[in-house]
C-alpha cells in the first residue's frame, strides 16, 4: 500500500523524526509496505506533515536497519528480503539466545520462575494453530525477555535488537505458512521453561538451540517457495 497524504500529524518537532521512523518501520515489518516499493521523500514528508529533513533522517536510520535501500540519485525503496542475510541473521540470533539462556538459568529468581510458569500454562498451551502462531510472534518475546533481563547484558540486548528487524519482517511474511510448524515445536519451548525452572542450564540451552534450528529449517523451506518477496542474490543487498 503506497503512502497517501492523509491528516497532518500535529506534534512537537522533536518527536516527529522518531515518529516517522517508528511508523515506517512498523509498516515495513508488517508487510504493509512491500519489498521493492518506492519511498519518495516528498510523499513521506506530505504524509506526516513534516519537512524533508526528519523524513530523510528516518530513511537513513531504516537503511542502517537494513530495511530500506537509499540511492542518492534515484530515491529510496523498501529493501527486498535477502535470503542469505536472513539465514545469517538467524545464525547470530541463535548464538546470542542460546548463550543468554544457558548463562541466565542459574541467575533466575523465584519471580522469574513464576513468570515462566504462567507463560507456559497460557501461551504454550494454546492449540489453535493460527492463534498460537500469532501469540508466539508477540508473546514469545516476553518469554525470552525473562532470560535477557535477568542476564542483564545490555550490549547483547542492543546486538539482538539490531538484528531482530530482519527476522521479524520475514516472520510476518511467512507466518500463515509457519503456524503448523510453530505448534509442532511448542514442546521445545515447554521444555525450555521446565529445564530452566529445574535449574538445568544445559538442558534449557539445548532446547533453545533445537527450537532455533528447527525454526530455521522450516522458515527457509517456506522462504524458498516465495521467490517474489526475496532476493536470492548473494551479498548484503545494499
Amino acid at each position: 500500500m503506497p503512502l497517501e497524504p492523509s491528516k497532518k500529524a500535529v506534534m512537537p518537532r522533536s518527536f516527529l523524526r522518531e515518529h516517522i521512523y517508528q511508523e515506517l518501520r512498523t509498516r515495513i515489518l508488517n508487510g504493509e509496505l512491500q519489498p521493492g516499493e518506492r519511498l519518495r521523500l516528498e510523499d513521506i514528508a506530505n504524509y506526516f506533515g513534516s519537512s524533508r529533513f526528519p523524513a530523510r533522517d528516518a530513511l537513513s536510520r531504516l537503511a542502517s536497519d537494513g530495511l530500506v535501500i537509499v540511492k542518492p540519485q534515484s530515491g529510496s525503496t523498501v529493501a527486498l528480503i535477502n535470503v542469505e542475510e536472513y539465514e545469517q541473521t538467524l545464525d547470530v540470533l541463535a548464538a546470542l539466545f542460546t548463550m543468554v539462556v544457558r548463562e541466565a538459568v542459574p541467575l533466575l529468581t523465584e519471580e522469574d520462575r513464576h513468570a515462566l510458569s504462567v507463560y507456559r500454562t497460557s501461551v504454550l498451551a494454546a492449540t489453535d494453530p493460527s492463534a498460537a502462531a500469532i501469540a508466539s510472534g508477540t508473546a514469545v518475546a516476553d518469554l525470552y525477555d525473562v532470560f535477557f533481563n535477568r542476564y542483564g547484558n545490555e550490549v547483547i540486548v542492543e546486538a539482538r535488537d539490531h538484528l531482530l528487524p530482519v527476522a521479524i519482517r520475514v516472520y510476518n511474511f511467512i507466518i500463515s505458512d509457519l503456524s503448523e510448524q510453530i505448534i509442532s515445536q511448542q514442546h521445545l519451548l515447554r521444555d525450555l521453561v521446565d529445564q530452566a525452572n529445574a535449574g538445568n542450564a544445559e538442558g534449557a540451552a539445548g532446547a533453545m538451540a533445537t527450537y532455533f534450528a528447527n525454526f530455521r529449517a522450516a522458515a527457509l523451506t517456506i522462504v524458498s517457495s516465495r521467490p517474489e518477496l526475496f532476493n536470492h542474490a548473494t551479498g548484503s543487498g545494499n
Binding site: 542476564y151 547483547i156 539490531h162
Partner: protein, 224 residues
C-alpha cells in the same frame, strides 16, 4: 561559513578521518588517559587542521563513546567503564564461538590465513605486545567468519570493536596473553583437524572464566 578545505589543501572529510584515527588510537592505547580534557583549538593547531574537521572528529568519537562533550564547558575522554567492557567482551565471545562453528568447516583445508594470523599471535605473545595480541586475536576469528562469507557475523563483530579497542589499555586483572594462548593453541589445533566441536569446546573452556566472572558480578549486584 567555514572553508571546506584545510590550508594543506586536503579535502575536509579526509582530514576529519585522520584526526579521528589519531585521537582514536591515542584513546584506545591509553596515551590519552580517561578524564583528559580536549580543546578543539589546541588540537587544531597541534594537528595542523582547522577547527571544523576537529569538531567533526570529536562528534564521531562521542558517538562511539570515547569522549563526552558538554557544550561550552568541556570535552573530555570518557572514563573506562569496566562493566561495559566486560559486557562487550562477553558478547564478542559469542561471535567468536559462532565464527569457529561456521568458519572451520568453510576453510576446507585452506589454512594459510589462520596459520599466518596464529604466527602473529604467537609473536605478540612472545614480545608481550598486548595491543598486537588483542588485534590478532580478533583477526583470527574474523578470518574464520570471512572464510564462511558470513556478512551478518562480520558486521556484528565490527559493531563491537570500538568498545573493545580500549581493552588494549593496560589495566589490572586482565588475563595474560600467554594464558589465553594455551586455549587458543588447542582451538587452532582442532581447527586444523577440521574438528568443529572440539575447537568450539576448547574456546568455551577459555570463555568459561570471564563468563563466570560476569555471573559473579551479576549475583553480587542482585543480592546487594
Amino acid at each position: 561559513m567555514p572553508s571546506s578545505t584545510a590550508p594543506s589543501g586536503e579535502p575536509r572529510a579526509l582530514l576529519r578521518d585522520q584526526v579521528f584515527q589519531h585521537l582514536f588510537n591515542a584513546i584506545a592505547t591509553g596515551a590519552l588517559a580517561p578524564g583528559s580534557h580536549l580543546n578543539d583549538a589546541e588540537l587544531a593547531s597541534e594537528l595542523g587542521a582547522s577547527k571544523a574537521p576537529v569538531r567533526e572528529a570529536l562528534q564521531q568519537l562521542r558517538e562511539i563513546g570515547f569522549v563526552e562533550i558538554v557544550p561550552n564547558r568541556f570535552t573530555r575522554v570518557t572514563e573506562l567503564n569496566p562493566s561495559h567492557l566486560s559486557k562487550s567482551i562477553n558478547t564478542m565471545w559469542v561471535y567468536y564461538e559462532l565464527a569457529i562453528r561456521v568458519g572451520v568447516p568453510a576453510l576446507a583445508g585452506d589454512f594459510e590465513v589462520i596459520e599466518e594470523v596464529m604466527a602473529e599471535m604467537r609473536e605478540a605473545t612472545r614480545s608481550d605486545d598486548r595491543p598486537a595480541f588483542s588485534a590478532t586475536m580478533y583477526y583470527y576469528f574474523r578470518a574464520l567468519a570471512e572464510a564462511a562469507n558470513h556478512g551478518v557475523l562480520l558486521r556484528s563483530m565490527e559493531r563491537l570493536t570500538p568498545h573493545l579497542q580500549r581493552t588494549l589499555a593496560p589495566r589490572p586483572g586482565l588475563i595474560q596473553p600467554e594464558q589465553i594462548m594455551v586455549y587458543l593453541e588447542r582451538v587452532h589445533e582442532r581447527a586444523l583437524a577440521g574438528d568443529v566441536d572440539g575447537a568450539a569446546a576448547a574456546f568455551n573452556e577459555l570463555a568459561a572464566t570471564p563468563r563466570a566472572n560476569y555471573i559473579r558480578s551479576r549475583t553480587a549486584s542482585t543480592e546487594s
